[in-house]
Structures are given as structure tokens and as C-alpha cells.
């Protein structure tokens, strides 16, 4: 075989390496175009973002996040990043029951209803208000995420009534729990 003078040449190894690249590209391209098998869809960043932005309509996603340690860690990082205010885990409390959790950015206080009907008032005291209006209080307790919608904030204070079975009460009493407001 003689070479045509106008065609450049290359070492076989280089050409072979380029062949593998093209072949891999072809595989990727055709696999993406092929019919998708019915696989269980994984949570993506888009899901986490949607859950963080509009938790009311993504309860199922939040439950899924809570059942996956890797996703829970990613969600926590995103919440911290997006949160207007955060209150990290508390130092271990002497008593199992706390009535107040203090933080640099906001304090939380839990008061039982004076009517003794099981209802509790969760009072959020924000130390320094920003222009952004707080919408939700997120909390992470035992690696599970949940949220409650906040009432409007007056003079840095928002108050929410919760039932005695509400998970936020357990979270409130657990020093390891984290709270985020966004």
C-alpha cells in the first residue's frame, strides 16, 4: 500500500485512541436516543430545589429525601445555602425538655396553650430582619426533613400554633435538630 501524498498520516495508537472516543460518543448518543427502560427515577438537584422552594407541593419528595442519607445531606447543604436564617444544633441540654432554643439569628420558644387543649405555640424571634419575607421554617430531626409554614412576621416575631403530635415538638426538644427559615 502506498500513501497518497495529500493524505496526512498518524501513529496507529493515536488513531486507535481517537476511535475509542468516537465509539464512546456514538454509544452515549444512541443510548440516550433509545427507549428508556422503566427504571426508578433518582432524585436530582432539581427535585431538591423544588422541595426547598415549594415544600407544600413536594411533600412526597421531602419524604424521599428523608429516606436517603446521601440526598438528605445534599438537601441540608442546599437549605443552609438558601436559608435566610439558620439555627444549628444546640449544645446538649441538661434536661430532655427545653422551652427555648436560642441562636445567633433567631430564637425558638415553645409554649403550651393556656387552655390545656394540647395545642402549642411555636414563637420565632428573629434578631435582625432582612428584606426577604420568611415563608417556611424547615427542621431536620433524626435525618428527616419537615417544614411548617410561617405566619406573617411582626416586629421580628412570628407565631405558629401546632398540635401536640406535631413533629416539630420532638425536633424542638432534640438539641441535635437543625432549623432553617427561608
Amino acid at each position: 500500500m502506498t500513501h497518497h501524498s495529500d493524505e496526512p498520516t498518524i501513529g496507529l495508537d493515536d488513531a486507535t485512541a481517537h476511535f475509542v472516543t468516537l465509539e464512546t460518543y456514538h454509544q452515549l448518543d444512541t443510548s440516550l436516543a433509545a427507549h428508556q427502560p422503566d427504571t426508578v427515577r433518582q432524585l436530582t438537584f432539581g427535585d431538591l430545589l423544588a422541595a426547598a422552594t415549594a415544600p407544600d407541593t413536594h411533600a412526597e419528595t421531602i419524604a424521599k429525601i428523608g429516606s436517603n442519607a446521601k440526598q438528605a445531606s445534599r438537601f441540608a447543604a442546599l437549605l443552609r445555602s438558601m436559608a435566610i436564617y439558620t439555627q444549628p444544633s444546640q449544645a446538649a441540654a441538661a434536661s430532655a425538655q427545653m422551652d427555648k432554643r436560642t441562636g445567633e439569628q433567631f430564637d425558638l420558644e415553645l409554649k403550651a396553650s393556656s387552655r390545656h387543649d394540647g395545642a402549642h405555640f411555636l414563637i420565632i424571634r428573629i434578631h435582625k430582619l432582612t428584606e426577604t419575607t420568611p415563608q417556611h421554617l424547615y427542621y431536620c430531626h433524626n435525618n428527616n426533613y419537615n417544614f411548617i409554614s410561617l405566619s406573617s412576621v411582626h416586629n421580628g416575631i412570628s407565631q405558629v400554633m401546632v398540635g401536640e403530635d406535631n413533629l416539630v415538638i420532638d425536633a424542638f426538644n432534640d438539641p441535635a435538630a437543625e432549623f432553617f427559615i427561608k
Binding site: 497518497h4 496526512p8 476511535f19 465509539e23 464512546t24 452515549l28 436530582t44 438537584f45 441540608a76
Partner: protein, 543 residues
């Protein structure tokens, strides 16, 4: 975790699909076509480290300006250089720079550097994949470190760490063992034929090498090269790889120092050349194969251009790219004997008599017929473009002018331009450019029968010959879609026709074959003996 043994894993494909399907609030795709293509390219070429480096510089600029990391993944606009620039500008703690928004300037103490946001936008899909692979928590940790990066070495170290994470993920989710095994078979065959030190060129992979390779490898029942079609596809890809390797653009380094405004043009050029060489893209970075898909019956709503059969044939021929003319004999063998082998396999599956399957199905004029079919396909594409153009004329669409110009001969083109000059000369004052174009279009449509009667006649004849849905009566509704589909279809048809023409028109490979003995017919007879004899060996038949 199960280790992927061949090709991309479902997990990786799901992630890529999610990223490709990602839209912004108003439904527009988050990533450009180019960014999506680039993601596949950097994955296939394992060249992500080279892209992660500038991405890290961008993240460093962003982190130093106090932008929250999630901002880049929750943008309300598609990712473009401009939207990235706006994102940086709105959060910038430093005074606004006089530089364009598409170049971000930053400093690491004494070192200053520019980040070309066009380059970042082109790789936005990779940034999303990094996020999905390593997770928001870990990426944010890198981001926080980038905020404190003191010099280029710090950024390099973080960039390398991210690259390692991606490498570990892809090692388990994008196995290339099968491709490498295939590549070794091709390489070993070349070594056997030419020697290990032989510098290779595309001409070394000719029609005879391909058929010899198939004869050697197809007898093994476990071979990936049992099908002649597979052999051809792989050798054509090897020729493409040689072209890419000889141009060596994939290896070209893109130094961050070059990421200035001038560097931007250089980068764009490198990207385009690399894409063209490596992935056989056209200059506008859209593969011609995907263009064909856009005029399929499944894609078009108001018109029908190519049929499914025509589309399959054209796609098969387009796969040869620039190598088609040189491999015309391989193409003839492929279109003639490929279907025979497919029928043999089907007969074997159904436990029918394979010998009968082979009887009398390849006529001695099969190659002449195949060439005739390619010519016919070319004529059909050209004819459809003309028929569609005539439909635009009847609809008095301004798009007619753009469609007709390339179909006109030199004299007609001059006459069309003269109309434009005449309209301009009659202007009495400044006119908006769009208004001027509309005036020229209207005048051309009015005067077309006088200015270009022969062209109109040709277009009308084509319309009579190619009667397909939407090319007859003018629509009464959805005219806008109809016009857009026609105009776009004409452009694509016009791009598809020339590669087919190059296969059969003035192709020295055919001229040589036809000029003396053996003629195409003799070659067909010889090939039929060779292929049929080998089919009998593969599938256990004796004549």
C-alpha cells in the same frame, strides 16, 4: 454498586437525560444544543478535566463576589454568557467593570485573570452533571474553598479534586472496555497488514481492507464483526478517527491566559474545528444526521417531505460523511449484501432453509441499480426542495426569496439581485432594514414570472412531480407553522443533497470501475460469489 461492563449505565443516562430536559421557568431549555453536545463530547473524550479548570475559575469569581452557589442552578433564564454575566454583575461586590459582561475579571491577590463566559455557557451541562455526581453539599465545600483561593495553584488543586471525583464516577458508570476491545481488533488487523510502525492514513482503510477484515472476523460466532454492516460502520468510524487524530485539535490546549476577548474568538474556532473533525459536524455545529431527523414525518406537522424508507437510506449514506466517495464500492456492497445477510439471520432464526433465501436475490446489475437509487434519492431531495420553494412562492411568503436564490442559476441570481438594487435605488429616504427586505421580497414575488421565468417553470415542474402532503394546496390554517416547516425543510434538503451527489457524480472510484473491465456488473458478480460463499461458511450452508 454494580460496575458497568459495557457502555453508559442507566444511572448516567438518566442523569444526562434529566440535565438535557431541564427547562427554565418559561419552558425554554436551560442548556443550549451546543452545551448538550459538548457534555457528550467531553465525556466521550474523557476531556472533562480540561473543562473543569475554567469552570473552577468561574466558580471562584462567583464565590469571591458572594454569589450563592445554588443561584447558578436555579437561574430563571437559559444559561448563556449574557445571563451568567448578569448573574455575576447583580451580585458583584466590586465596582462594575467597563469590560463586556461576557468576560468576567477576577484576581487572586497579585494575579488577575479573565473568565470567558461564552466558554462557561458552552459547558453549562457539564457543570450540572458535576453537581449531580458529587452533590450540592460537596460542590459547595469546593465552592467555599474556591472563595478563598489565593492563586492559580489553589484553583488547580480544587479542579483536580473535582476531576478525580468525576473520574471515579465515570469509571463505574461509563465502561469503555467493549469499545477498547473492538479498537484492539481493528488495530491488530492494521498491524498485521501494514506493520506496527506504519504511519496510518485514511487511504489505508480501503474497500478491500474492509471486506478482508469481515472475512477474517465473521467466522467467529462470538465476534462483534459477524455482520458486514458492523464492520463497515466501525471502519468508517476508524477513518473519521484518523482524520481527527491527524488534525490533532482535540489535544490543543486552551490556556486560561488566552481567555481574553481575542482568546474568545480563538476558542470558538477551536471548538468548531474540533467538533467538525471529531464528530463530523457541520460548520454551524449541528450534525447533518440530526438535520435529517428534523424533516422526518414524525417531526413535521403540516407537511411531509422524505418518507421513512428514504430517510433510512439517506441516513445510511450520510454515515459515511466525507469518506463516502472513496468507499463507494463498500457502500454498494453494503446496500446490496447487507440486506441479504439480515434475511439469512432471520431465516436462521425461523429455522428456514437459508439456501433458498440466497437464491436469485442479487441480480448482476445490482450495483448499477444501487447507484441509480442514490441518484434518485439525490434527485428527490432536490425536487422536494424545489417543490417546497414553489409552494412558498404561491403563498407569497418572503421566505421564497431565500429559498429560491440557491436554486437559481447565475443569470437568474443576477436578475434577482438587480431587483434588489432597483428597489434600493428608488428609495427616497432612510428605511428600516427589515422594511427594505420586505419591499425587495414583495417586488421579487410580483416580478418573478418576468425576472426568472425558467426558474419558476423548474419549480412548478418539481411541484407537479413531487406530490407530498402540504406541497399541494395552500393551508387554510396554521400558515405560520406551514411556512416555517417549508423554509426550514428547504434549507435541510439543500444541505443533504450535495453529499449524495458527491457519491455518484464524477466519483473516480466509479469511473475507474466503469471504464474498463471489470465493469460494475463484473464487480458485482465477483462480489456476489465472494459474499455468498462466505455466507455459506458463516451460516453452515453448502451449495
Amino acid at each position: 454498586m454494580t460496575v458497568q461492563d459495557d457502555g453508559p449505565s442507566h444511572e448516567l443516562l438518566d442523569l444526562i437525560r434529566t440535565i438535557f430536559d431541564n427547562t427554565v421557568a418559561d419552558g425554554r431549555p436551560r442548556h443550549s444544543d451546543q452545551a448538550r453536545q459538548n457534555l457528550l463530547k467531553v465525556l466521550a473524550g474523557h476531556s472533562y478535566a480540561k473543562v473543569i479548570f475554567p469552570l473552577c475559575h468561574f466558580l471562584s469569581v462567583s464565590a469571591q463576589n458572594g454569589v450563592a452557589l445554588y443561584h447558578w442552578f436555579a437561574m430563571s433564564q437559559p444559561v448563556t454568557a449574557r445571563s451568567l454575566g448578569q448573574g455575576l454583575k447583580s451580585a458583584a461586590s466590586t465596582p462594575a467593570s467597563a469590560r463586556p459582561q461576557t468576560i468576567a475579571e477576577a484576581s487572586h491577590r497579585s494575579q488577575t485573570f479573565d473568565v470567558n463566559l461564552f466558554h462557561i455557557a458552552k459547558h453549562s451541562a457539564l457543570l450540572d452533571l458535576i453537581l449531580e455526581i458529587i452533590g450540592y453539599d460537596q460542590l459547595e465545600a469546593f465552592y467555599n474553598r474556591l472563595a478563598k483561593a489565593k492563586n492559580r495553584q489553589d484553583v488547580t488543586a480544587i479542579s483536580n479534586e473535582i476531576s478525580r471525583e468525576i473520574y471515579h464516577f465515570l469509571r463505574n458508570h461509563m465502561a469503555t472496555a467493549s469499545s477498547e476491545k473492538k479498537a484492539r481488533s481493528l488495530r491488530d488487523f492494521l498491524v498485521e497488514r501494514y506493520g506496527a510502525d506504519h504511519p496510518i492514513s485514511v487511504n489505508d482503510i480501503d474497500n478491500e481492507l474492509i471486506v478482508d477484515f469481515w472475512i477474517q472476523f465473521s467466522l467467529d460466532a462470538d465476534s462483534k464483526f459477524r455482520l458486514y454492516t458492523n464492520c463497515v460502520q466501525n471502519w468508517v468510524r476508524f477513518r473519521h478517527a484518523i482524520r481527527a487524530a491527524t488534525r490533532n485539535q482535540f489535544q490543543q490546549e486552551t490556556s486560561l491566559d488566552a481567555l481574553s476577548e481575542q482568546g474568545q474568538a480563538a476558542l470558538d474556532q477551536i471548538d468548531q474545528q474540533t467538533a467538525k473533525t471529531m464528530f463530523d459536524d457541520a460548520s454551524d455545529d449541528v450534525p447533518i444526521g440530526s438535520q435529517l431527523g428534523k424533516i422526518s414525518s414524525a417531526e413535521l406537522q403540516t407537511i411531509k417531505l422524505v418518507t421513512a424508507t428514504e430517510q433510512d437510506h439517506i441516513a445510511q449514506l450520510l454515515d459515511f460523511g466525507d469518506d463516502g466517495p472513496a468507499l463507494i464500492v463498500t457502500i454498494l456492497r453494503l446496500v446490496t449484501f447487507g440486506p441479504v445477510q439480515a434475511r439469512l439471520i432471520e431465516a436462521l432464526r425461523q429455522k428456514k432453509n437459508q439456501l433458498n433465501t440466497m437464491d436469485g436475490i442479487v441480480d448482476t446489475s445490482a450495483y448499477d441499480v444501487a447507484i441509480g437509487q442514490i441518484k434518485q434519492l439525490h434527485d428527490t431531495l432536490e425536487g422536494l426542495a424545489k417543490a417546497a420553494t414553489f409552494s412558498l412562492y404561491l403563498a407569497r411568503s418572503p421566505a421564497f426569496v431565500y429559498a429560491a436564490l440557491p436554486l437559481a442559476d447565475v443569470t437568474e441570481q443576477k436578475a434577482m439581485r438587480d431587483v434588489g438594487v432597483d428597489v434600493r435605488s428608488r428609495l427616497t429616504g432612510p428605511v428600516d432594514e427589515q422594511e427594505l427586505v420586505a419591499q425587495i421580497s414583495a417586488t421579487l414575488l410580483d416580478t418573478a414570472p418576468d425576472v426568472m421565468p425558467l426558474l419558476l417553470h423548474r419549480l412548478q415542474q418539481a411541484k407537479k412531480k413531487f406530490r407530498r402532503k402540504g406541497l399541494g394546496k395552500l393551508p387554510t390554517e396554521d400558515v405560520e407553522t406551514w411556512t416555517a416547516e417549508l423554509a426550514n425543510g428547504i434549507e435541510i434538503l439543500s444541505r443533504l443533497a450535495p453529499p449524495l451527489n458527491r457519491l455518484v457524480s464524477n466519483n473516480p472510484a466509479i469511473t475507474t470501475a466503469q471504464s474498463g473491465t471489470p465493469s460494475l456488473q463484473s464487480r458485482c458478480i465477483a462480489d456476489r460469489d465472494l459474499f455468498f460463499d462466505h455466507f455459506r461458511q458463516i451460516y453452515g450452508q453448502t451449495s
